[in-house]
């Protein structure tokens, strides 16, 4: 097709640059500067989509972000596919591939259009009523069909192939909207010496000035004033202009979310992000978001070819497109006359201007009359004809009492409507600013702001161009002043411009027909009609919030940009209460639909989250280790040899540690240096244990509770000197423990001279465990005697290991003779490799967290978070021996003295479990009962906390928390599992070397 509806001259499109694109597979062309909508119209295409519920053919209604009908899927392949884009906002580029939505098999023949025939049976709320019976039919019958038919567009079938960027920015004044008000505001703010960001959702700055063909500003045609003003702003170094940037959200404390479209319109640019999320913190905000034209609500007001009058004028004057050959205009507002004149001048035949007002007059009305356009005052519209395109309008006289006379069909291929304008208060409302109803304007306007924000121009109901400019400048000056800038005197702008400000209508036009037999659409996107709103009210709903939810009016992706006021107008008629009393619904972010990708930003793939790796990680990886996630860390879980599964690898690793030695990367353990004269006293108050008498060079197992008495964390703590402790925490608890200790240090015990420093990443920690650990380690140690006599279990020494300064712990989490070698992290890998190599002749193996878990469970050592769940006290875990009984206080001590926490209560206690069948490994989390035959609900006595195959014992074993467990040792309990019951015997929690002989090698 060849742009048959392109006007020979005019508009801001670049006539020298033809752009080809496809729509539903058909090749078409447009011009640079077109939107997809204007290019479709240039090719005579109004039919752009099918509606959401009734699958009615729909055309392009608007020329902006409020578009409810022309939603398209855009993208040449699935990796670049975006559904539900408004054709009115899609910038045309070479090779653009677009498709219509909500139709099958094609836009012109859509089988689901049957909904349009059965519409009487699917009114508002039909899904609340219809799908209740029979019960099973929902999942089997209704849901699959509704899912196939419902929804807007379709999700892309491949991962997003584009990337997204994010940026934080700050400014003194953020101006949202670069129409006349926003431009003037930016001028003033720059003049005030402020850092300014000016953003606008369109490809060009200018807003309404982009389609302004008549007015002059300060003596210059609007277009020239616009280009000169933009040049002047660009020359100001303190202003950043963001075009193609939608302010979608207004967040607390003057932070706004913007989305900048970077490359969608530049198909040749590769490797650059598609969009950027801007999070802008502004000292002051000027909202200059403009206004949105309201449609009129009349029967069959949704056929393709029915358009907002202002949109038709924009297509003619900005894009040089003739939206039809013969137009009928229905209006309640003067501005439609302006549109009629513009179209008339573009060669569109004007069949009638039907004005529902009895006596319209004013500048544009007079001009239209003077031009000989057929004005019908006191005239309404009672219906339309046409299937895929409007073909006629039924016009009828409207008497002052509201009665509708006989209608006359006027043929047309374009039907324009205007109910007046609604200020774009969305962002203001998002910011929790109060909206107030302006009776004269017939719309809600911004009232008291909740943020440091100013509202300028049409979005607060100012409509005369000279006033809009002056208002914008004044608000920009006020914002600059409030942000700390210079005083900028007010200024006026001389404009020549015929005002088009009179009139307006909200509600449904009278049509004189049986209301049950017509559909007059209020919300085009969600297919809700005037009748639906009346139905909701007749069914007892009164609050506008309830009416909105019942009918879904205003709940589509356009958030009621065009439907809100008409819905209120209908409600106010039926409820016979003024709109001001009914109030309006709250607008939510985003202002227009926003991609998920831009929110994810850089957080995808490898950068989805921080992945923490130890200095030994890549060695383990090269050895074929299998890793597991422990908080943000990657930890080697086991080191399988060729052909081994996890079970075999873990069994081999366990046997090697018990028989010879194993090496284990414990670098992820949290470490905190507690230093200062009051270090011991601080630990006394934090941990349950007594620390004052611990000698430098000695270690102690520390247990940390929450203030409610339950176990929070544990770890071995070494006293390095009188005033310095090396505290270790669990891997996952490191940050939590440091935060809690800092809290007490700063807020409860500020008198203590003690400081906490995280050293988790300062040290790589190499655990060397097993009977041969000492002989493997000894040759590496300088400056310390590590013999048993000189360095017994639970001691620490500073020395050199492999030539590197080290803190050497004699400690065991396996039950074997063991050391934990702390070396500065950069050396961790080299020291590890040296020890690993040296230990080979002795049978040293690397082991992972799984073997660590098994070995400690054989010894009955708890793991916080596995044996504990936030309700386990030290006594429950069999750890009351750790408590420093003589201490007056420690975190959690008072809570342990509360009723229910101690003696005489049947609390769950840590015990061991052995299954009757030694081959059966219980499931962790499995419940324990005394009588497996008891009918449900069964009395549950406890649960399995840890369960493993023990290569050492050559049988299964488990730890469990069991009510009154220590008194039940020797009893048999049962574990009911699907299809079977497992018998277990309660034992003590230590399965291996209960006497602790092995700790000494």
């Amino acid at each position: 097709m060849s742009q048959n509806f392109r006007l020979p001259t005019g508009g801001r499109v670049n006539r020298g640059k033809k752009i080809s694109f496809t729509f539903d597979g058909r090749r078409m062309s447009g011009l640079e500067g077109d939107t997809l909508a204007s290019a479709l119209l240039a090719n005579g295409e109004h039919l752009a989509g099918r509606s959401f519920k009734y699958h009615r053919p729909r055309g392009i209604l608007s020329a902006g972000p409020e578009e409810p009908n022309a939603l398209v899927g855009v993208g040449a392949d699935e990796g670049h596919y975006s559904p539900n884009l408004r054709a009115t906002q899609v910038e045309l580029f070479e090779g653009l591939v677009a498709e219509s939505q909500n139709r099958s098999p094609s836009l012109r023949y859509d089988w689901a259009g049957v909904n349009n025939l059965i519409w009487r049976f699917i009114p508002a709320g039909f899904y609340y009523k219809t799908f209740m019976w029979p019960r099973g039919a929902w999942t089997k019958f209704f849901e699959p069909r509704i899912r196939a038919m419902a929804g807007l567009g379709r999700a892309p079938r491949a991962p997003d192939a584009t990337t997204y960027a994010q940026r934080y920015a700050h400014c003194d004044v953020l101006v949202v909207g670069a129409g006349p008000a926003g431009l003037a505001a930016a001028l003033a703010a720059v003049q005030g010496g402020q850092r300014v960001i000016l953003c606008d959702e369109q490809n060009e700055l200018g807003g309404s000035l982009l389609s302004e063909t008549d007015a002059t500003i300060d003596g210059a045609p609007a277009a020239r004033w616009l280009s000169e003003t933009i040049a002047q702003l660009r020359a100001a170094g303190s202003l950043q202009i963001l075009a193609r940037t939608t302010a979608f959200g207004y967040f607390p404390h003057n932070m706004l979310g913007l989305v900048e479209r970077l490359t969608d319109h530049l198909p040749g640019v590769a490797g650059q992000p598609r969009e950027r999320l801007w999070q802008v913190r502004a000292k002051q905000v000027v909202l200059a978001a403009g206004e949105i034209e309201r449609p009129l609500v009349f029967p069959d007001n949704d056929r393709p070819g029915i358009m907002l009058a202002g949109a038709a004028r924009i297509y003619a004057s900005r894009y040089g497109v003739k939206p039809g050959q013969r137009a009928v205009i229905v209006t309640a507002h003067d501005s439609a006359y302006r549109a009629a004149l513009a179209l008339y001048q573009a060669g569109v035949g004007i069949a009638a201007i039907a004005d529902v007002r009895a006596n319209p007059q004013g500048g544009w009305v007079d001009l239209a009359r003077k031009a000989g356009l057929p004005v019908r005052a006191g005239c309404t519209i009672t219906g339309t004809s046409g299937r895929l395109r409007v073909s006629g309008a039924d016009l009828a006289p409207l008497a002052a009492d509201g009665t509708v006379g006989a209608s006359e069909r006027v043929s047309c291929d374009l039907l324009l409507m205007s109910g007046g304008f609604t200020p774009s208060v969305h962002l203001f409302s998002q910011s929790r600013g109060k909206l107030v109803y302006d009776d004269a304007l017939g719309a809600f306007v911004p009232g008291t702001p909740a943020e440091d924000c100013w509202v300028a121009g049409a979005c607060r109901g100012v409509s005369l161009l000279s006033e809009v400019l002056a208002d914008g400048f004044a608000k920009g000056a006020s914002a600059a002043r409030a942000a700390g800038g210079a005083l900028v005197p007010a200024r006026g702008f001389a404009t020549t411009h015929a005002p088009a400000t009179g009139g307006g209508f909200a509600g449904a036009l009278p049509h004189g027909k049986n209301p049950a037999s017509v559909r007059a659409f209020v919300d085009f996107q969600n297919d809700s009609t005037a009748k639906d709103i009346k139905l909701a009210i007749s069914e007892g709903l009164r609050s506008i919030e309830h009416i909105k939810r019942y009918t879904t009016t205003g709940m589509a992706t356009d958030q009621g940009k065009i439907s809100n006021m008409n819905a209120l107008g209908i409600a106010t008629d039926v409820l016979a209460r003024p709109i001001a009393q009914i109030g309006t619904t709250t607008f939510r972010m985003p202002y227009t639909p926003t991609t998920f990708g831009v929110f994810a930003g850089y957080a995808r793939g490898d950068l989805f989250d921080t992945v923490r790796r130890t200095p030994v990680h890549h060695w383990a990886e090269a050895q074929g280790a299998v890793f597991e996630d422990v908080s943000l860390w990657k930890r080697a879980r086991y080191f399988p040899l060729a052909g081994e599964d996890m079970h075999q690898a873990v069994a081999r690793e366990c046997r090697a540690v018990r028989a010879a030695a194993g090496i284990f990367d414990a670098s992820t353990l949290g470490k905190i240096e507690v230093a200062g004269p009051d270090a011991a006293e601080f630990l006394n108050r934090m941990y349950v244990n007594a620390w004052s008498k611990l000698k430098p060079g000695r270690l102690r197992y520390g247990l940390l509770l929450r203030e409610d008495g339950f176990i929070l964390d544990d770890g071995v703590i070494g006293r390095m000197s009188d005033e310095c402790f090396h505290v270790t925490t669990t891997t996952g608890g490191a940050a939590r423990v440091l935060t809690m200790m800092e809290d007490y240090r700063q807020t409860e015990f500020p008198e203590l001279k003690v400081w906490l420093t995280s050293t988790t990443e300062q040290w790589a920690v190499i655990a060397l465990q097993g009977p041969k650990a000492r002989e493997i380690l000894a040759p590496f140690v300088e400056g310390a005697d590590i013999s048993h006599a000189a360095m017994p279990h639970m001691s620490v020494v500073e020395c050199r290991v492999a030539g590197v300064p080290a803190r050497l712990f004699r400690v065991s989490f396996t039950g074997e003779l063991g050391f934990e070698i702390n070396v500065p992290a950069d050396y961790g890998r080299a020291v590890w490799e040296a020890i690993f190599a040296a230990g080979q002749p002795a049978g040293l193996v690397a082991y992972g967290t799984e073997t660590m878990h098994v070995l400690r469970a054989e010894k009955g050592y708890i793991i916080v978070g596995q044996e504990t769940d936030g309700t386990v006290t030290p006594d429950d875990a069999g750890l009351s021996w750790a408590i420093g009984k003589a201490k007056p206080d420690f975190v959690g001590k008072r809570a342990l003295a509360r009723a229910g926490m101690g003696e005489g209560v049947q609390r769950k206690q840590l015990v061991g479990l052995l299954t009757d069948d030694p081959q059966v490994v219980l499931e962790e989390g499995a419940q324990l009962v005394a009588d497996p035959a008891q009918p449900p609900p069964m009395t549950m006595l406890g649960h399995v906390t840890s369960s493993y195959w023990s290569a050492t014992l050559n049988r299964s074993m488990a730890l469990a928390l069991v009510k009154n467990g220590r008194a039940r040792i020797g009893e048999t309990l049962h574990v009911p599992m699907p299809g079977r019951v497992i018998r277990v015997t309660i034992t003590g929690p230590v399965f291996y070397d209960a006497e602790g002989i092995k700790l000494d090698g």
Binding site: E742, T747, D889, A899
Partner: protein, 97 residues
Amino acid sequence: MLLITCPFCGPRPELEFGYAGEAHVVRAQDPRDVSDSQWTEYLYQRSNVRGVHAERWRHAHGCAQFFNALRDTTTDHFVATYRIGESRPDAAVEAGR
């Protein structure tokens, strides 16, 4: 994202802070002196104010300090922020908003 005025570092973005619960919940000097019910109150009872709420924040990814703040829970506006150990700014300050 809130903008929170750290008493040490000045206004900073919320991302740098951690919330730390209600402020001025006093731990007994010697917990042995308080009854079970008083201790239970200390552990679990919080005021859940609608309006100006005294609460603790920590400039965790900044100067690492805990501090107190008065925030209106209905608007998210901060009335004041002040250091640990300082008493709650008086009602006149609150009324000044």
